[in-house]
Structures are given as C-alpha cells and as structure tokens.
C-alpha cells in the first residue's frame, strides 16, 4: 500500500476512534438518564423487540455485503462492486426507513424527545447513529456515481476502502445500541 493510502487509512481510523468517544459520551448520558422517565413511558413500554431484531439483522447483513464489496473492488471487479454497493445502499435505506417509522410512531404517541430526560437521551443516541447512517448513504451514493462514471484506479479503491471502514464501524456501534438501549430496556 503506498504512503498516501496508508496515511489516509490511518487518519480515517483515528477519526473513527474519535467518533467512538462521541458515542461513549452519549451512551454514558443515556445510561445515567434512562431511569428519569418523568411522567412519560418507560423503555419496556415503547420498545418493539421483534422490530428491532429485524433492523439489526438488516444492518448486519449490509455490513457483511459491504465486506464482500470491498473484496470485489480489490479484485478489480467493478461490476460486482457496484452491485454489492447498491445492495448496501438498499439495506441501509431500509434500516433508516424502519428507524424513522419507529421515531414517528413514538412522537405520535406522545413519547417525543421533549417528554422526559430518558426520551431525550434515547432520541439523541439512536438519532445520532441514524444521522451517521444517513451521511454514510450519501457517501455510498456518491461512491456509486464515481464507480459508474470514472475508470477504476487506486484512488477509487482507496475511497471504497474508507467507506467500508465507516460502514463496518456503524454496525459495531449498533451492537451496543441494540444491547444497551433496546435489550436492556426491554428486559
């Protein structure tokens, strides 16, 4: 791997480490505030476990497909790369759609982010992850466009690799959201 690529991967990895700490602060706040439900609903009252399980499997699958996509890119198979990237985008959109529907539902039920500290923390923690997914999807779309319109070269391989790192990282964060927010909330 040439020097420029090695710099970029390392620098981006460092950025991911800072993002982990951003989430850490949000997680710490969530855990501290999750008992403060004021007059609003408790976690067990609003979490739909089968729904969340489906979301989790969708995101996990997209992370898996993302890995396969990077392999295809490394093997210079542009067609397969584009197809798999498209798959990642579709699953990502599905995930985000499900999450948005969950949020809208909660707001309609009166369990919005202004109701209690617990709900503020919930919407912020899960919403920040969702915002990252959204940025990731924008990035994936731009990447797909690049793959479509430019000749595949080292620079494009790099960009694909960086995106893959980001997408895997988002699934890693979701493991902890799934566990600490939803499962512990429902149990």
């Amino acid at each position: 791997m040439n020097q420029l690529a090695s710099k970029r991967y390392f620098g981006f990895w460092l950025y991911l480490m800072t993002d982990c700490l951003l989430f850490a602060a949000l997680f710490a706040t969530y855990v501290v505030l999750r008992g403060n439900t004021a007059d609003g609903p408790r976690p067990s009252e609003i979490f739909n476990m089968p729904f969340v399980l489906v979301e989790t499997v969708i995101l996990l699958t997209s992370s898996f497909i993302c890995g396969l996509m990077l392999l295809a890119a490394k093997a210079n198979n542009v067609r397969r790369t584009k197809t798999l990237l498209f798959g990642v985008i579709v699953l990502g959109v599905l995930f985000l759609g499900m999450e948005l529907s969950e949020f809208t539902q909660l707001v309609h039920e009166g369990a919005g982010w202004t109701t209690s500290a617990f709900l503020s923390a919930f919407f912020t923690l899960v919403g920040t992850h969702g915002a990252h997914i959204f940025i990731g999807l924008l990035w994936a779309g731009a990447l797909l466009w690049l793959l479509q319109t430019r000749t595949f070269n080292d620079a494009l391989l790099q960009k694909t690799g960086l995106f893959a790192m980001f997408w895997h990282f988002l699934d890693v964060i979701w493991i902890f959201i799934f566990t600490i927010v939803y499962i512990m909330g429902a149990a």
Binding site: G11, T18, L22, V32, L33, A117, A121
Partner: protein, 661 residues
C-alpha cells in the same frame, strides 16, 4: 403573511445592537478594527495578494502564521476584557457601583475566559505546531494539508462568531463553561449562550481535525532514520497533546450538542425538570475540561525542552524520563476531572480517589522541572530572551503547580473552591506555563519563519514586564481567596479587600505595558529587519532539523529529505562534521484553494441561523457545507503540482547562499 415573514427572520431584532457605553465601545472597536484592516488592504492594493499568498495557502507555515495572528488579536480583546474586570473590582466596594452593569460584567468574564482558552491559547498552540512540526520531522508538510486549512478556517469562523456577538446580540453570561440550568432555555433564553455554543462547536471540530492531522503526520511522515526515540522532545509533546485532543474533544462536541438540543429542541438532558440532570453536564464538561488544560500546557513544556537544551548547549537531561513523564501526565489527566467539582456532593470515597490522582499528576511535572534544571547544570547557558521567559516560568509555574496540589485535597478545596485563590491558581499555571512557553517559542522560531530575528532588548523588557506584572496582578488574588473573596463578583462590601484589587489592577497595567513592548518589538524588528537578518538559517546554534533549512524556510521545507541517525540530529551533524545526508526526489506540492474558507464560511452562516432561529438559513448553509465537501472529495484529485528534482535543486541553491553545514 406577517407570521411567515416573522419566522423567516427568526428572532433578529433592532435591539440586538448594544446599548451600554462599554458594549457600544466594544462593538465599535470590532467594526472599526475590521474596517481599518479592510481599508489598508484596499489602499495598498493587497486583496489579491492576501487571497493568493495567504488565505488560500495550504502551506502549514502560512497557516501557522495566520493562527497566531488571529490569536494575538484575540489576546488583545481578552486583555481588554481583563482590564474592564479589574477596573470594576478595584472600584466597586461598599456604596460605589463601579463602571459597568452586572449583566455586562458577567458577559465580560464569560467572554474573557472563552476567548483566552479557545482562541488565544489553542490558536497560538496550533499555530506554533503548524510552523515547526513538519520542519522538525524533516518532512514537507502535514499529512493532510487541505484538512489543515479547513481546521484553521473553522477556528477563524468560531472567532468571527465570538466577535460578532459583540456587535450584534449578546454573549453568554454563564461563565466560560456555561453550566446549566443557568445556560438552559429557562434561565438564558437570549442568544448569548447560543453564540457561545456554536463558536466553540465549530472551532472544536477544527481542533479535532488538527489532532488527527498532526498524529498521522508524526506517526507516518518522519524523516528516514528518525525512529520515535530520536525525535525532538517537542514532537513527543505534540504526540501526547494530540492524543489528549483526539480523545477529549469528542466529549466536548457531544456535551455542547446536548446543551444545544435542550435549547433548540426542548430536550431535557440538563434541565431542572422532566428528569434532566444538570450535574451530568458538569461531569461531562470537565471530563473534557481537564484534558484541555493539559492540551494547553504540554506543548509549552515541549517548547521549553527545546529552548533550554539549545541555550544550554547540552543534550536534554533525561530524554527518556521526559517522554515517560509526558505519557504519565497524559494518562493521569483522564482520571482527575472530578477535582473541578469536589463540592458538588459526591461522597468521600469518590472525592478521595480523584484527590489522590490529582496529587499524583504533579509528580511527572516535577520530574520535568528537575530535568530542565539539570539540563542547564554545567551547560554553557546563554540567557537570550527565550531563556528569560523560561526563568520566569520555572519559578512562577512551580508556585502555581503547588497551589494546585494544595487544592487537590478535597478538605481544603471545600474552603477555596470558586474563590479568588482558584482564579489565581489557574492564571498562574496558564500565564506562566502556557503563555510564557508560547512567547519563548515565538521568539525562538520567528527567524526560521520570517528570516530575521526579533529585537532582543525589547523582548527582554517585555518578559520582565510580564513576569513582574503577573506577580502584581495575581499574588494579591491568592491572599483575597484566603480572605474569603469569591470569583466573578462585580461588587463587594469588605473594604479591607480593596487594596488588593487595586494592586491587582496595577499588575494588569504592567502586563499591558509588557504587551505594548511586544508590539513595539514586532514593529521595530520589522523596521530594522535588514540589520537582524538570519543569513545562515541557524541563528541560535540549534540542535534540531528545522535549523538546517534556510531562513525564511522555503515553501517546500526540504529540497531533499534528510537522513537522520541520532537524537538532536542537526547538532550531531554539525559536531561530527559529516554534514547532512540528503535523498533527492521529486515532490508534490498541493495547489492553493479557497475551499477551506468557503466551507468554514457556510458553517458560520449555519451557526448564525441556528443562533437567531432562522431555520431555513441554517438548513441551506448546512446543505452547502455538505455540497462543498462532496465537491472536494469527488474532484479529480488534480490538486497538486509537482516540483522536479532539478527545480528543487535550483530553488534550494538560491535559498541556501550562506547556510551553514
């Protein structure tokens, strides 16, 4: 229709302009200052030159100079704030009312702290690192030059927001850390806190990106042969500082984010009702805040290490222990943060743990002090002005550190928390530690960047003014703290305190004199630059690689990358007479671009929209930021031009006439 018009302009209103004498004066100063600069550029026909040579430059050295220029302007503002605070406190005893209203007083001390820490100290720090780090490492620039430009411009956007608050709107009146519930919507519904939040969020992102940039540069771009233990000690101090930046700033981002969500979207993180917990804010903000003060001081320690070794003409004593001490301080600074709120009500065991950790963190710092002194011992010490700053530091900072250890004991802290004793302690450490270090660094590296030395005599006088002025200004505050005076008071009833406030006020005037001498020094040095030219590139008989290039350092730094084989590489090369081994190869130089300024400009507009509740503006500006970023990353990577080996050899020959070695 009127409703729609109203919501289109958010909460903009005519009464946003200041109405009190002092605040009007401040607003006029900002407006006329900016206008004067603009007029000068226009008169001397330098707009294009400024844009082409400086504002769009991706050269770390130019970016470094711009950081320092912005920081120095903010220093003037911060000292102006200090002068107003001191004047008020010197006069407002008993029946006297002083010169400014309470509300203005609160905004002034909030602005003073915010500006000094985020824009003066952080600015000079990032500036100096930009100037010196690539040169010390034997590399051409930082790892990500464009990101570097973005970092600077985000910093400038934050600075612009703080200054805008002086002209239109108000600033935070909740102290430099804006604790809720005071900073929440219920008690501070105006725009002040929002100005504070967004200027820090934007500047904070810039800092974080710089942290990533510098860490990658050090770990991936050192000259050949420069293993980690052969790096200059300043570089080690930058590594540890950037580790702190990278792991602490995300906490600030998250916490400010949550506060802004409370204010913008009615959330309840830190409100006093609906289950909010303001104590969590205090906890998180100091989990960032403590590492932050070490972020400020570690580079200053690094600078002193370089200065003391060079002017003692000796290898730094105890290089290895210095490195371990830096890492010790770095790790420990993450487990002491509760000492900022011993009195908030945690139990004895929690307070004891953090108190003990706080006392321990003084040990590695003590190791460093001893090592500097041992470096001087039996060295051929030359007391050039950087060493005068060091002498002031080594005596005065030690006192400040000791008062810190004193307050590390929770029992004692219960007595002096938030008193003027605390205020004296942190000014002691920040001024004599951070600021003196930065002043020494600026004097030391000035010739490398600009090609001529600063006037030595005026520099010394300035240093003496600062040292003496500091003592006059802050030692009385230690006494006042013990006498029961608390911080942030604009009026008091105890007449026996007044004399100390007056002495302190005189001290600030002496410091102001020192600043006057520094500005004079700059002016005179520029006027007399032909007399003080640095023709060799090595004006101080230096030890590290930056002194091996001509002064002023060429834009490409090294025409050929040096090969290093020992610590204090340049010194070793001079002593052994072997000369520097170079490797010649073509280099890629990034083209200038205004994209960084544009991105930061849109970030500024987005912040303005969020502060004044002009939602459509904030949204459009946010989209514009994303679009600019996409545009840059999707571009065809044609952002560089190449300098061939032949070109480099020609440029270098021209620059090197007279360079030693």
């Amino acid at each position: 229709m009127i409703d729609m018009m109203a919501s289109m302009w958010g909460r903009l209103a005519w009464d946003g302009f200041p109405g009190e004498l002092v605040t009007i004066g401040g607003a006029l100063a900002v407006v006329f200052g900016a206008a004067a600069v603009g007029a000068a550029l226009f008169y001397f026909k330098r707009w294009k030159w400024l844009w082409r040579e400086w504002l769009t430059s991706l050269d770390a050295k130019k970016i470094g100079v711009m950081y320092i220029v912005v920081a120095v302007i903010m220093l003037l503002r911060g000292v102006g704030d200090a002068l107003l605070l001191r004047t008020q406190q010197a006069l407002a005893v008993g029946d006297a009312g002083g010169v400014i209203t309470s509300d203005t007083f609160q905004q002034i001390f909030s602005a003073h702290g915010t500006i000094m820490i985020f824009f003066v100290a952080m600015g000079i720090m990032f500036g100096l690192i930009n100037l010196v780090l690539p040169l010390m490492l034997g590399t051409r620039d930082v790892a990500f030059p464009f990101l570097n430009s973005v970092s600077f411009w985000l910093f400038a956007a934050g600075m612009a927001l703080v200054n805008l608050s002086l002209v239109y709107g108000e600033f935070s009146a909740a102290g430099w850390l804006a604790y809720p519930p005071l900073s929440g919507l219920e008690y501070s519904p105006g725009v002040g806190i929002d100005y504070w939040i967004w200027s820090l969020q934007i500047a904070g992102v810039g800092s974080l990106l710089s942290g990533i940039n510098f860490l990658t540069t050090i770990l991936r771009q050192r000259a050949k042969g420069m293993s980690l233990m052969k790096m200059p000690i300043f570089v080690w101090s930058v590594i540890t500082t950037m580790i702190l930046v990278v792991f602490a700033f995300p906490i600030l981002t998250a916490t400010l984010g949550m506060l802004s969500l409370d204010r913008l979207m009615g959330m309840h993180f830190f409100t006093s009702d609906f289950g909010g917990n303001p104590m969590m804010y205090v906890n998180l903000i100091w989990a960032w805040g403590h590492p932050e003060v070490y972020i400020l001081v570690l580079p200053a320690f690094g600078i002193f290490s370089e200065v003391v070794a060079t002017f003692s003409r000796k290898y730094l004593f105890g290089y290895k222990t210095m490195v371990f001490a830096l890492f010790g301080i770095t790790f420990l600074s993450f487990i002491v943060w509760l000492h900022h709120f011993f009195t908030m009500g945690a139990g004895g065991n929690v307070n004891a743990f953090f108190g003990i950790m706080t006392m321990i963190i003084a040990v590695p710092t003590g190791v460093k002090i001893f090592n500097w002194i041992f470096t001087m011992y039996k060295g051929k010490v030359k007391f050039a002005s950087p060493m005068v700053w060091f002498m002031g530091f080594v005596f005065l900072f030690t006192i400040g550190g000791m008062t810190g250890v004193l307050m590390a004991v929770p029992a004692i802290d219960f007595q002096v928390h938030n008193s003027l004793f605390l205020v004296a302690h942190f000014h002691n450490t920040i001024i004599t530690g951070v600021l003196f270090g930065f002043f020494a660094g600026i004097t030391y590296w000035f010739p490398k960047i600009f090609g001529f030395k600063l006037h030595e005599q005026l520099g010394r006088i300035a240093a003496y003014c600062w040292i003496f002025g500091f003592m006059l200004a802050f030692f009385p505050l230690y006494v006042l703290g013990f006498m029961g005076a608390v911080r942030r008071i604009d009026h008091y009833d105890e007449p026996s305190w007044q004399i100390f406030f007056i002495i302190s006020g005189v001290g600030v005037l002496v410091i102001l004199l020192g600043i006057g001498f520094q500005l004079l020094q700059l002016g005179v040095s520029i006027w007399q630059r032909k007399k003080n030219l640095d023709t060799t590139g090595d004006p101080w008989n230096g030890r590290t690689l930056e002194w091996s290039v001509p002064s002023p350092a060429p834009s490409y730094n090294f025409a050929a990358t040096p090969q290093v084989s020992s610590r204090d590489a340049f010194w070793e090369m001079k002593q052994s007479g072997r000369g520097i081994k170079y490797v010649h190869e073509a280099i890629k130089v990034p083209k200038n671009t205004g994209a960084g300024a544009v991105i930061a400009g849109f970030a500024f507009i987005m912040a303005f929209g969020l502060i004044w509740h002009i939602w459509w503006l904030a949204f459009v500006a946010f989209v514009a930021v994303i679009v600019c970023i996409l545009k840059r990353t999707l571009s065809d990577e044609d952002n560089e031009r190449e300098l061939s080996v032949k070109e480099l050899k020609q440029l270098d020959a021209k620059a090197r006439k007279g360079v030693r070695v």
